[in-house]
Symmetry: C2
Subunit: 249 residues, 2 copies
Amino acid sequence: MASGEDSALIWTRREPGSRRPKFTRDQIASTALAIADAEGFAAVSMRRIAGEVGAGTMTLYHYVRTKDELVALMDDAIMGEVLIPADEFPAHWYDALTAVAVRTWDVLMRHPWALNSLQNAPAGPNAMRHFEQSLAALAGTGLDAPAKFALLSMVDDYVSGNVLRSAEVRTANAASDGDEVFEEAMRFAESQYASGDFPYTEALFGGEDPRKVFPRLLGGRSERDRFRHGLAVLLDGAAARMGLALPAR
Amino acid sequence: MASGEDSALIWTRREPGSRRPKFTRDQIASTALAIADAEGFAAVSMRRIAGEVGAGTMTLYHYVRTKDELVALMDDAIMGEVLIPADEFPAHWYDALTAVAVRTWDVLMRHPWALNSLQNAPAGPNAMRHFEQSLAALAGTGLDAPAKFALLSMVDDYVSGNVLRSAEVRTANAASDGDEVFEEAMRFAESQYASGDFPYTEALFGGEDPRKVFPRLLGGRSERDRFRHGLAVLLDGAAARMGLALPAR
DNA sequence: AGCGTTATTGGTACAGCGTACGAAATATGA
DNA sequence: TCATATTTCGTACGCTGTACCAATAACGCT
């Protein structure tokens, strides 16, 4: 019994409330989210959040046991953005899985810092709803549980990995002209080519500004389109292996 | 000219050496690596490293400008482990790409903390060698540069994403019997099932210890085999799309 | 051999972090 | 109105990265 009032898990521990408090977990978490989105996860500190909501620093600890719990709240808020409204849920497994994956990608690209913490705590309510939606997408396939799980894992892995690396590409492209580190890196690469150990890389990038080469390598497609393409390749491969039908087109 | 002696990049800045110093970048970086592997990345602090190598804390700053530079050294050391000896390099693109990916996976699974920093700095020498090997794998395919780049990116994304999530699964499975958080999480999940909003999840996990369910879901295969399987699915899909031949088997 | 130069070492200090502790303020039921 | 329990938050501790500067010691030169 004991309905878990001082549970080890934030999801089962009630918010303060018997004497009407000044703040809410929601308010605190969304403030933290705003800071992370605007200035990066490193800018999220307890003092900073408290300042922003107009509370004393230690007041936050009445709503949350540790900073990790607050991060869990942030993560689950993000998982909430990922959920697809029931009436938009596609009928065919391929379309449904694609919709879930693309939506997840869209959200994670808005909060790429979340990747570091997302997998490190037990699933919150929205993470559970997301998982339920993923299972729902495959409900009509007739696959057995291990096959479903394998397929979902593959898609999940690809989504996370793509977000992880897309953040990198974005950084590289954001290098401004006067950026000393960037120009030093270019000179370093050129000097490495001179050793003759990098024939393929040199053929690709040699002597040219990478910021010119990249758009050509990316085939003029947007990040999002490249992600969708990769996802389609993956799903095609999986469908072929698992004997699943692709949607009529 | 000026050969970049006080370059902005650690790769082009010479180590101290004109008056024979007591330490080396290598020694410092590999000490840091050992700490990270043994106790997690969070345990790597400048004071801790300095203590371990027998130096004063600030001495490290003569070998490295910032902690980020030290992390870059750690990352490139890891990329060094990923390199495949020339005489082991498979001839067929499919085997070569698989070999590179699997080796990368093996190494990253030994240093999963590295994922957070790997993409955030300009490529070091070993990262360049790794990229060169990836390009070499595709040299015989006749694909154009954008196609090669797309294929490599997909594989890379999948590798990173899989490592990221495998670390999670491992944590879940490591939950010991008395673990209060774990048991609380189980109770929470059960209570959610009761709402009736999670029919698929409940069918999968309901009423059973997840640590019993997981092995069944994973089909008895090892993490590594599951990764290899997913990679094969991805490569098959890509080969089909790009008109590449699979190796004779 | 001794000395001046300067590379190298590392002590001290500062601002920031998460958070333990305990005191002050305040809303509520009686 | 008062006692009580809830909520707020100031202070303090040990940790972090690293700026600054003084002490140490290795080398080139005379």
